[in-house]
Amino acid sequence: MNFQYDEDSSGITVRMTGDLNFSANGEFRQVLERLATAKGRQVTFDLAGVPHIDSVGLGLLYIAKEESSGRIRLKSPQNSIMKMLELTEADADFDIVR
């Protein structure tokens, strides 16, 4: 799992590459630390480079959402991830930008 950050006046975008799953727990903590410095700003996760998210990975996104105390935008999810977001009704909790 790899994270890159783009920050500008409109907010912070986290571009992720690799699977966001059961094994990403440790690595995701650095994202949370980074987001802690950007409280109150628009947070976007760019998922174009993520082939798979499992329920653990989704749980991590929920933690991020809670930590940033605002809505989170999920950008460009691949089809199977979109399907998963729909199945878990997470599409109601996150702003999905296709």
């Binding site: 059961f22 903590r29 749980g59 991590l60 933690i63 089809n79 998963m84």
Partner: protein, 609 residues
């Protein structure tokens, strides 16, 4: 050039003869002679031993205190570098000849001692002795450097020998073959003249196929050994590509014909043993025919007809196949075993060797150490050729063969410790992958074998193994390739992923997901997982998955763990918590799958998709 002044030691007991010689020498203008006269050998030796330096000695062999050749010998011992002219009576030419043979430089016959004769004689003796000494010095130097050169050669050949032994398979590798491939290999190798032209070796073609080879270059010593390194390098280059022995021999032959000097060649035997298919496929070029023992102890000689490598570009090699089920073994040997000489000057021969090998055949292959001991008792030593003997036995252990099919129509399962080949086992022709764990494969669930029997796919891994190789991803890819069709692949992927993650984290490692609540507890959660993975008791528990196609086109995916289990119904019926950070896995499965059921107290989760 002789010095202008020469010191002469004259040893002569006859005063008349002595005086004649001294007078004669006094008359010579150049060189001038300074003569010291002694009448006995003792006095003469005393002159030499007290540091008297002389350019030449004139010696009467018959003195009051010494007679004949003895006199000459003693003077030579006293000063080995002193040129000596002996004086004899004309009655005894044989003594003069003998004196020359044992080291006098010239002789004078008493009564024929003219000025000219004596001078010529002395000159000649001195010149000849100096030439002898020069030659000796040169030859001493040569001997020294020859000894040094021999020492260097010995050292280099010891190094080469060590390097050649370094080419042989290590005991560690043999241990791995026994563990992971069910092949028990025992061997003996002894080069004849320090370094030899024999070599045997083995390599892994893939998880189930193992390559064995033996070759013997013409000749031995350094030249043959260099060829051994050459062929070994070529074979190492091919490595795992060696699946087809005949094609490989053709390639090696093409390369060697160009490389080897004329008249050098190698007899060769190359075999691929497939423990899953229980076959032995070989091709050969004139190697001694190996002995193949069936599990019941019966034996046959393998056909090894074929041109040795390196002789002809038009050589053609063929593959031959024999059954090699558990309990079979193969005995390879170099021609030194059959061509060594026994009593009566006859060679041991194939028949006698085979009868020897049969006596030392065991269910675990040929007892090589016992065979070599008996062989050395039988033949004349030292041998004049390299000696190689190898036994390869397909041992029918549970670890190596149990999950593999027992009949040819049964499905093929890949069993290995190596997680790099999990995807190989998940792809045809295999019907699944079984990780060989700490307990071998005795803890593999029967459901895995059943699934494979039903045309499905199975995967059995330790928790640590499943974690390390991302089992869910590998399976998702394998399932879509194998079963194809118009399915809800996202659902398959999610179900596999969620169920396997639950089985690993909750079932296997016993880590509770409620820790995944806050960033702080997330760290604790990650730590618990790492702890679990490094705890052998938990990390080696199996996680197993079977995927079986159902009649109506659905897939039945079942995931098994060896954990504590849980109350499946309670979890399934729990109301969804908005924004929950964990506990979503089952919900996701429930939505993605057509049906979900649990058995065995929550340790088995079956999903239809």
């Amino acid at each position: 050039m002789l010095p202008a002044r020469l010191r002469v030691l004259l040893v002569e007991d006859d005063t008349v003869s002595a005086r004649i010689i001294m007078r004669t020498l006094e008359r010579v203008p150049t060189p001038s002679f300074q003569v010291v006269h002694e009448g006995t050998l003792v006095e003469a030796l005393s002159q030499l031993n007290t540091g008297g330096r002389f350019d030449v000695a004139i010696l009467d062999l018959n003195l009051p205190d010494s007679l004949g050749i003895q006199t000459l010998a003693q003077l030579q011992v006293a000063d080995p570098d002193l040129p000596i002219v002996v004086m004899t009576g004309d009655s005894d030419p044989a003594v003069a000849e003998l004196a020359l043979e044992v080291g006098a430089q010239d002789y004078l016959i008493k009564g024929e001692t003219s000025e000219r004769t004596i001078t010529r004689c002395i000159r000649y003796a001195i010149t000849r002795k100096h030439a002898d000494l020069d030659r000796k010095a040169i030859s001493d130097r040569l001997n020294d450097s020859l000894a040094a050169e021999n020492k260097r050669l010995d050292e280099e050949s010891a190094l080469a020998r060590a390097m050649q032994f370094g080419l042989l398979p290590t005991l560690e590798k043999m241990g791995q073959y026994r563990q992971a491939r069910g092949l028990a290999v025992e061997s003996f190798f002894e080069p004849s003249s320090d370094i030899g032209g024999d070599l045997w070796g083995c390599a892994e073609a893939d998880a189930l196929r193992t390559i064995f080879f033996m070759f013997d270059f013409s000749g031995h010593g350094v030249g043959a050994a260099l060829n051994v390194f050459r062929l070994h390098a070529l074979m190492s280059q091919l490595g795992g590509q060696i699946i087809d022995p005949a094609a490989t021999l053709s390639r090696l032959n093409d390369m060697l014909v160009g490389l080897l000097p004329r008249g050098q060649y190698a007899t060769v035997f190359l075999a691929v043993i497939d423990t899953a298919a229980a076959t032995l496929t070989w091709s050969a070029g004139g190697a001694p025919p190996p002995v193949l023992f069936a599990a019941d102890g019966s034996h046959k000689m393998l056909d090894t007809k074929g041109k040795p490598l390196g002789i002809s570009l038009s050589a053609h090699y063929t593959n031959r196949v024999a059954d090699f089920p558990g309990g079979s073994s193969l005995f390879l040997y170099s021609d030194a075993m059959t061509e060594s000489v026994v009593g009566g000057g006859k060679m041991l021969g194939e028949e006698r060797l085979v009868s020897m090998v049969k006596k030392l055949h065991t269910p675990a292959g040929t007892d090589i150490q016992g065979l070599i001991a008996r062989f050395y008792d039988t033949v004349k030593t030292p041998l004049d050729d390299d000696l190689t003997a190898v036994s390869i036995c397909h041992i029918a252990t549970a670890a190596a063969t149990q999950p593999v099919h027992t009949q040819s129509s049964a499905p093929l399962l890949l069993t290995s410790r190596r997680l790099e080949v999990v995807d190989v086992g998940l792809a045809p022709p295999y019907s699944g992958f079984i990780e060989i764990g700490a307990d071998g494969v005795s803890d593999v669930g029967l459901a895995c074998l059943d699934a494979a029997e039903q045309g499905g796919l199975c995967l059995s891994l330790s928790v640590a193994g499943a974690w390390a190789c991302c089992a869910a991803n590998l399976l998702a890819t394998a399932v879509s390739r194998r079963f194809g069709g118009n399915r809800d692949w996202a659902a398959v992927e999610h179900c596999l992923s969620e169920a396997i993650t639950n089985a690993m984290i909750h079932g296997g490692l016993g880590v509770d997901s409620s820790l995944r609540e806050t960033p702080e507890s997330l760290a604790e959660y990650a730590r618990s997982i790492q702890e679990g993975l490094s705890d052998p008791a938990r990390a080696t528990k199996r996680v197993e998955v079977t995927v079986v196609p159902l009649p109506r086109g659905d897939l039945q995916i079942t995931v098994y763990d060896r954990g504590e289990g849980y109350d499946f119904d309670a979890k399934m019926n729990r109301a969804a918590v908005p924004g929950a950070k964990h506990g979503r896995g089952l919900a996701l499965i429930r939505k993605a799958a057509k049906s979900v059921t649990s058995r065995d107290g929550g340790r088995t989760l079956a999903m239809t998709i």
